[in-house]
């Protein structure tokens, strides 16, 4: 039914904006779109108030493209830069209270599972490093301990960008930022290590330098969360404003940081690996006869 709700009823076509029809007919709702096709079709996220050159915006754009079932996905965010774009995307978005994302997602996912037994409804948390590692830390950890079946994506710009550049737990040690006038005193929080300890089924660390890899990672994380357990993606999405990265150099910075300390890493539990290998094999089998 979900897809039907967005299709334009015959007879109403002339009343709905061309943009909406374009989204339904050519957007990623009805066709699987590749990263290489970006720019050639109507996207889930187009207009947004993000800063010029923002790496987070690129990451969000690719993430939305990669969702395995856009028409059955709900995104949960919180205060921060990311939600400025997410709340304007053509996808249901919950903007709750500070630090509540993973608790809201737990209730939402469980409720949807009660109501839609045979139809997967994907819940994706997308929030910043402050929202997830600082104020929302407890909710994040407990959603992992409870093995809640949804994906958590951290948009890690290593700073409170939206409030004007204060240090966060994910800021690197020594960085001079607001509220860290003498440089941050402690190490960047090891959320990946904590995710492993908590038994998260699939964990990935990624920078937005390779959009196709971003898309594949997101798809994998959402599908594994659907069947196995919690998944976590930690994405370096630099803040070119607070870290004074010249706009044309944003991707250069991402490549440098990736090489230096944010290289692509993925980790799967045995359960997740078994599921993923089987589902990929099934998918190949399913695809094979169609290509003949």
């Amino acid at each position: 039914m979900a897809l039907e709700t967005i299709r334009v009823s015959p007879g109403f076509q002339k009343f709905l904006p061309k943009e909406y029809q374009d989204l339904v007919e050519n957007g990623p709702f009805t066709k699987e779109r590749k990263v290489s096709e970006l720019g050639s079709f109507k996207e889930i996220l187009e207009e947004h108030p993000m800063c010029a050159g923002c790496a987070m915006t690129l990451f969000i754009r690719v993430t939305l493209l990669a969702l395995p079932s856009v028409e059955n996905s709900v995104i949960i965010g919180t205060a921060g830069c990311g939600r400025l774009a997410l709340s304007q995307a053509a996808i249901p978005f919950v903007y709750g209270n500070y630090g509540d994302t993973n608790a809201v997602a737990s209730g939402l996912k469980r409720g949807l599972s009660v109501r839609f037994k045979d139809k997967p409804k994907d819940v994706i948390v997308m929030a910043g490093d402050g929202g997830l590692a600082d104020i929302g830390f407890s909710a994040v950890m407990h959603s992992w301990f409870r093995k809640e079946k949804f994906t958590t994506i951290m948009l890690d710009n290593e700073v409170y960008g939206n409030t004007g550049g204060q240090e966060s737990g994910m800021t690197q040690k020594g960085m001079v930022l607001k509220m860290a006038p003498n440089g941050k005193k402690f190490e960047k929080m090891d959320m990946i290590g904590l995710a492993k300890t908590s038994g998260v089924a699939y964990i990935a660390r990624i920078a937005p330098t390779n959009p196709t890899r971003v898309a594949n990672t997101v798809r994998k994380a959402v599908l594994i969360a659907r069947e196995v357990g919690p998944t976590y993606i930690q994405a370096y999405t630099s803040c070119n404003i607070e870290y004074a990265i010249p706009t044309p150099k944003v991707m250069d910075d991402a490549r440098e940081v990736e090489k230096d300390r944010y290289g692509f890493m993925e980790y799967m539990t045995d359960d997740a690996k078994a599921y993923w290998e089987k589902s990929e094999a099934d998918r190949r089998k399913l695809k094979a006869p169609q290509t003949k």
Partner: protein, 413 residues
């Protein structure tokens, strides 16, 4: 074999009996599966009832058993009441579809916000410090237009550390936008909790409902409760007929940034926010007709013509009833206005009931006197109101104390 005979009964430091969680019996599971949906009017007003002698917490459990709850989320907040663990047994027996113990109240109340957005019927319970911890989220439920039921077993707010019954925490609930009912006794707690689900989910209401009861005096004590049979339950939540779309991607249009930030600094945003807030409080008013239908009105008035009137809510009503009886024995006619619904506040009813009164008492189980303030700000001639007697910090309210206030005006400044 007679089970448990001769065995030592273990209790916790508060004196509650410690019981290991019993595994659900096959019989119990059959009971849940055999329940049939009935019309709310039938369940609330017409179904034959039988009297049982149970605690307030058990009365709540019996309400939940018949409420067709989908998701219940709990946190112990020791010492609260055993209600949410009782709901756990209902889950094990199949009466509740999903249930878990959350990380703490902020997480629990947030998860309720998520569950309610998914379109399921949901429930939690808390008290005192736990309520305060969850209050940021609870205050945002009405704005999200999220129907859910929150049971509050009043337990005072900490510092100095306290576990005693005292309903000061309700003063913080008055301005959240949630509906707030205050149960007098075990019977009320059953009736109000069950009706709360249907009232909050009405399309023209679409709001969370908090049902409060005074801790210990009602939650831990037994009272007579008339219950309909356990084989009937409420119809499920009809989420597509509510005021806002569900976050389930099933209702068009798919672009429903219902929770979009509207806090930008421009006139349209101010206007949106203002009208949204107005709408919450207007929705509260629209709940009145259902409260009248299912709870028999927002108030109950005893001896309406008496010159001395008492206004009370919660357990203070029971004590006041007894004081009214004792005063009558001494030849003094005293009236009583029981406030069932604190939000919406029955302003018209209270005004009408007190217009003729020469002296008005407001006995309360808290220091701040939140109900007295409500009454004073509602009626004409507020100098007639004596804000008291008040007891707090876990003290009981002897009827003699109320009688003293009826006869004279102790400590009147």
């Amino acid at each position: 074999m007679s089970e448990g005979l001769g065995e030592e009964v273990k209790t916790n430091p508060q004196g509650d009996v410690i019981t290991a969680a019993p595994a659900p019996t096959k019989e119990a599971k059959k009971g849940a599966a055999a329940q049939r949906v009935v019309d709310p009017d039938y369940l609330f007003l017409q179904a034959p009832r039988e009297k049982t002698f149970i605690t307030g917490s058990e009365a709540a459990k019996e309400a939940i058993r018949r409420a067709n709850v989908d998701v219940a989320i709990s946190y112990p907040i020791t010492p609260q009441s055993e209600t949410m663990q009782q709901v756990g047994y209902l889950y094990a027996e199949g009466y509740v579809k999903d249930y878990y113990r959350g990380e703490e109240e902020y997480g629990v109340m947030s998860a309720i916000a998520g569950a309610s957005r998914s379109g399921v019927r949901c429930l939690s319970a808390t008290a005192g410090p736990g309520l305060m911890r969850g209050l940021e989220v609870i205050s945002s439920w009405p704005g999200g237009r999220l129907p859910a039921v929150l049971l509050i077993m009043c337990r005072v707010i900490n510092a100095p550390l306290a576990i005693q019954p005292d309903n000061v925490e309700l003063s913080y609930m008055l301005n959240t936008g949630c509906l707030l009912f205050h149960a007098e006794n075990q019977q009320d707690f059953y009736d109000y909790a069950l009706a709360a689900f249907m009232i909050g989910e009405k399309p023209e209401v679409t709001l969370p409902v908090a049902v409060a009861v005074d801790g210990f005096f009602v939650t831990h004590a037994r009272g007579w409760v008339s219950l309909p049979a356990a084989d009937i339950k409420l119809p499920p939540r009809d989420c597509y007929h509510e005021a806002v779309p569900m976050m389930d991607n099933e209702n068009p249009p798919i672009r429903i940034s219902r929770d979009a930030p509207i806090q930008k600094s421009n006139f349209i945003s101010y206007q949106m926010h203002a009208s949204w807030q107005q709408e919450i409080w207007a929705a509260q008013e629209r709940s009145r007709k259902w409260i009248e239908r299912w709870l028999g009105g927002l108030v109950e008035v005893v001896n309406p013509k008496a010159k001395i009137m008492i206004v009370a809510s919660g357990a203070a009503v029971s004590q006041s009833r007894e004081a009214v009886r004792q005063a009558a024995e001494q030849g003094i006619e005293v009236g009583l206005v029981k406030i069932k619904s604190v939000r919406p506040f029955p302003a018209e009813e209270v005004r009408a009931a007190l217009d003729h009164a020469e002296k008005i008492l407001v006995p309360e189980f808290n220091y701040v006197g939140w109900l007295a303030k409500e009454v004073k700000s509602t009626i004409r001639g507020s100098e007639r109101v004596i804000s008291g007697p008040r007891v707090f910090g876990g003290m009981s309210m002897p009827t003699e104390l109320i009688l003293e206030y009826i006869m004279g005006t102790p400590n009147r400044r």
